[in-house]
């Protein structure tokens, strides 16, 4: 069912002809955003002000912050790896693995993700710069920047443009057609979460798309894919080499334990980052948009889409740090290039703006948000109920058709 995000007809208080944003939400949550064009532009101007305030006060203490986090992360990683040289010892194994897991999370989230966003480019330090940074992940920074910064952040939650929505393999909205294979969606999501860094690499590489299209690709597309795949291969070799060869070998008789510890740390990091990220755009109340809704979009309309398309996580300072401040997903999506340590301070102002315009500031504790997101994964793995038919009979029919060799797709729009 397609919802209209903004009203199409509304009279403004000053009597001017209301130009309205032709935004459409595809969720079945009832949208409360009934804003005139002027109101949307006002919101945009207010957000610009919030950004300008941070830029004007950005300086030495911010620089000290990121350098401090990087230093702490490196000490933690180095000392955890030293402890793991003796990983046959149970205490060393537990302490080292825990330390390494935290180090890897910090490296990916508060440091890598944010540096690659260019949040720290203003320092003009080539060591902490989006053009030079490489991170502890299988996907090369260059490819991730393209799919994440360019595609996801520009086309946030636009169906068909933002592949982060279900990573192109999941059903994330009722308006998406259901098919039988989606029954496996919860399972695939779990696999994806466990091996998230590989999932991201495949995703940045557009691996499945490339495999599917095969010979249908243009020579340039094939060349790009070949080049990118080679880069992923090199990165993969270094990453695997480090965690499963070099460090284990350095720990001599503890080799197997060290390799196991590294594997656990990688999986812990994967599960954690996946959980944080799934909370960003998946929980109930977050809206998705149609392609046509962003044609000729203004900056203010883009802001509004970020506001409605993101969700925050509430929690302690430590949780914010470990999430790379993606717990302030709304603020991050509004201002992806502001230093992450400043999101907490602008959050109350952003929230007040939401309230002023009657918009829903989606936010909740991590367990609740994760549960909601997973609930959605489960719910949407099943077809929608249709008048007079149960889900089971729809599934039954699909199974029957599949058995007869006629896979079918259902469009889940209720007959009206």
């Amino acid at each position: 069912m397609t919802q209209t995000l903004a009203t199409t007809e509304q009279t403004t208080t000053d009597g001017s002809t209301p130009t309205t944003w032709q935004g459409h939400a595809l969720t079945d949550a009832v949208t409360t955003a009934k804003l005139t064009h002027e109101q949307v532009e006002q919101i945009g101007a207010r957000l610009d002000e919030i950004r300008a305030e941070v830029i004007a006060t950005r300086g030495e203490s911010d620089a000290r912050y990121i350098r401090g986090v990087i230093r702490a992360q490196r000490w933690l990683e180095a000392s955890s790896r030293v402890v793991l040289l003796f990983s046959k010892n149970k205490v060393a194994f537990v302490v080292g693995t825990a330390g390494l897991s935290v180090a890897k999370i910090l490296e990916n989230m508060e440091i890598g993700h944010n540096v690659l966003h260019g949040q720290w480019d203003w320092m003009r330090d080539p060591k902490i710069h989006s053009t030079t940074w490489e991170w502890d992940a299988v996907t090369p920074a260059e490819q991730w920047k393209h799919s994440h910064n360019e595609t996801h952040h520009t086309y946030t939650n636009v169906v068909g443009r933002d592949n982060d929505l279900g990573y192109g393999i999941m059903r994330v909205d009722n308006a998406q057609p259901w098919s039988l294979k989606l029954l496996g969606q919860p399972f695939f999501n779990l696999v994806n979460a466990t091996f998230f860094e590989y999932g991201i690499a495949a995703y940045d590489l557009e691996l499945f798309d490339n495999l599917k299209k095969g010979e249908d690709r243009t020579p340039e597309q094939r060349e790009t894919f070949r080049r990118n795949a080679a880069a992923v291969g090199r990165k993969l070799a270094r990453q695997m080499g480090k965690d499963y060869l070099v460090h284990p070998l350095l720990s001599g008789p503890n080799a197997l334990h060290t390799a196991a510890a590294n594997a656990i740390a990688n999986v812990v990091r994967n599960l954690w980052t996946h959980s944080v990220i799934i909370c960003g755009h998946f929980p109930d109340g977050v809206e998705v948009f149609e392609k046509t809704s962003i044609e000729g979009e203004t900056k203010a309309q883009w802001y509004l889409r970020q506001m409605l398309g993101s969700a925050n996580i509430t929690g302690s300072k430590f949780m914010h740090l470990m999430s790379g401040n993606l717990s302030h997903q709304i603020e991050h999506h509004l201002f992806p290039d502001l230093p992450s340590n400043r999101y907490a301070e602008i959050a109350p102002k952003v929230k007040a703006l939401f309230e002023e315009y009657g918009l829903r500031y989606v936010s909740g504790p991590l367990p609740v948000q994760v549960a909601q997101a997973w609930g959605k994964v489960f719910r949407l793995s099943l077809p929608d109920r249709e008048p007079g038919r149960s889900r089971w009979s729809i599934i039954g029919e699909a199974v029957g058709q599949a058995l007869r060799g006629r896979p079918t797709e259902r469009v889940a729009v209720a007959a009206s």
């Binding site: 950004r51 000490w75 480019d121 003009r124 989006s130 910064n149 952040h153 990453q239």
Partner: protein
């Protein structure tokens, strides 16, 4: 050590470093070395400020201990240093004032009224600070065989490269003709005067507040044999231009060697000429058109993504001139080091030059 064992230890060193690279990936072993001691890391040059000495009003000498991979300099050369001010790195060039070969080196900085970096170094730099460094460079140096008769013609902080030469060499016949606003404003005044008293050099001070600026035609009176001297000059652009014309007219242009401190950056304005160096394209822009747009309109292939300032795909090096961020109105000007800018939200502010 025999050459074979030297080669062997080099090989072992390289193997250890290679292993270190595998251990530390995706960062460098040097990044971990720098955690412990920034001066031990070899991938970037840094220096620690060991001491700061006042040299007079608004002038300070910084004693620096460079990274162990620092090589050396020749007297008269300069080096670029990078300091973080309000979290932002700024690069400027300063003459090395110490003789080569020592473990420490010194630079002497004069705080200019509006000079962000010089003011910072003179007023706020503290022992213990770590700054960035670059190798020494510049061809304002003396030849292998020292000339018999020398004239150093300097003004203001133009004395700094010459000081390195005076400290490094013993000269036979050398005249230093130095201009400063007053006797108190002469950088290294005490050192120069005592060297003169000991007969190591002839010092001619020109105090411009009282005596006015030096005119090249006065050389005949001040240094009658100036035509026979190899002359090394360093100071403001007008002084150097005057000297060049004067030496040229006297037919001894080849005796004059000058050092120019950074050429003045073009004035900051609205719009202006944007040069895309690698594409060899030059366009006139107004103050409202982004460099991305202007470049694309002129057929330059530029990287871009969101075109609204959020994705950083369009980041390109500004190699000279100034740009204005159209969102904040803030301008960015290149001094001694290119700066990465986002072309999709930047417009030319005066002339600018991009590495694209």
């Amino acid at each position: 050590m025999t050459s074979r064992s030297a080669a062997l230890s080099r090989l072992i060193g390289r193997a250890a470093w290679g292993l270190g690279a595998l251990v530390a990936t995706p960062v460098l072993p040097d990044d971990y070395v720098a955690l412990v001691n920034p001066l031990q890391a070899r991938d970037v040059l840094r220096a620690r400020v060991l001491a700061k000495m006042a040299e007079g009003v608004g002038v300070a000498t910084l004693v620096l201990r460079p990274s162990r991979s620092w090589t050396t300099h020749r007297p008269g050369q300069y080096l670029r240093i990078g300091v973080d001010i309000a979290g932002v790195r700024h690069w400027r060039a300063y003459s090395v004032t110490s003789p080569p070969g020592a473990r420490e080196l010194t630079i002497t900085v004069k705080a200019k009224g509006d000079g962000l970096v010089s003011t910072h170094l003179v007023e706020r730099a503290r022992p213990g600070d770590v700054i960035m460094l670059d190798l020494a460079t510049g061809d304002f140096v003396l030849p292998e065989t020292l000339p018999d008769k020398l004239l150093f013609l300097t003004a203001g902080s133009g004395i700094t490269p010459v000081m390195a030469m005076l400290r490094a060499y013993r000269f036979g016949d050398v005249v230093v003709l130095h201009s400063a606003r007053s006797a108190d404003d002469v950088i290294f005044g005490d050192e120069l005067r005592s060297a003169a008293a000991e007969g190591q050099l002839v010092l001619l001070e020109r105090h411009t507040d009282a005596q006015g600026r030096l005119d090249p035609t006065e050389l005949d009176d001040l240094v009658p044999d100036w035509r026979e001297r190899e002359t090394y000059a360093c100071g403001p652009a007008e002084l150097l231009a005057g000297l060049e014309a004067h030496f040229e007219a006297a037919g001894v242009a080849d005796r004059l060697h000058v050092e120019r401190f950074q050429t003045e950056a073009a004035a900051v304005g609205e719009g202006g000429t944007a040069r895309f160096v690698r594409s060899g394209v030059e366009v006139e822009t107004d103050g409202a058109t982004t460099l991305l747009q202007a470049g694309e309109d002129a057929g330059v292939l530029l990287k871009s993504g969101c075109r609204m300032g959020i994705c950083f795909s369009c980041v390109t090096k500004l190699t000279a001139g100034s740009v204005r961020d159209l969102r904040t109105g803030e301008t960015t000007t290149v001094h001694d080091e290119p700066i990465h800018i986002q072309t999709c939200v930047s417009a030319s502010a005066g002339a600018c030059q991009l590495d694209a």
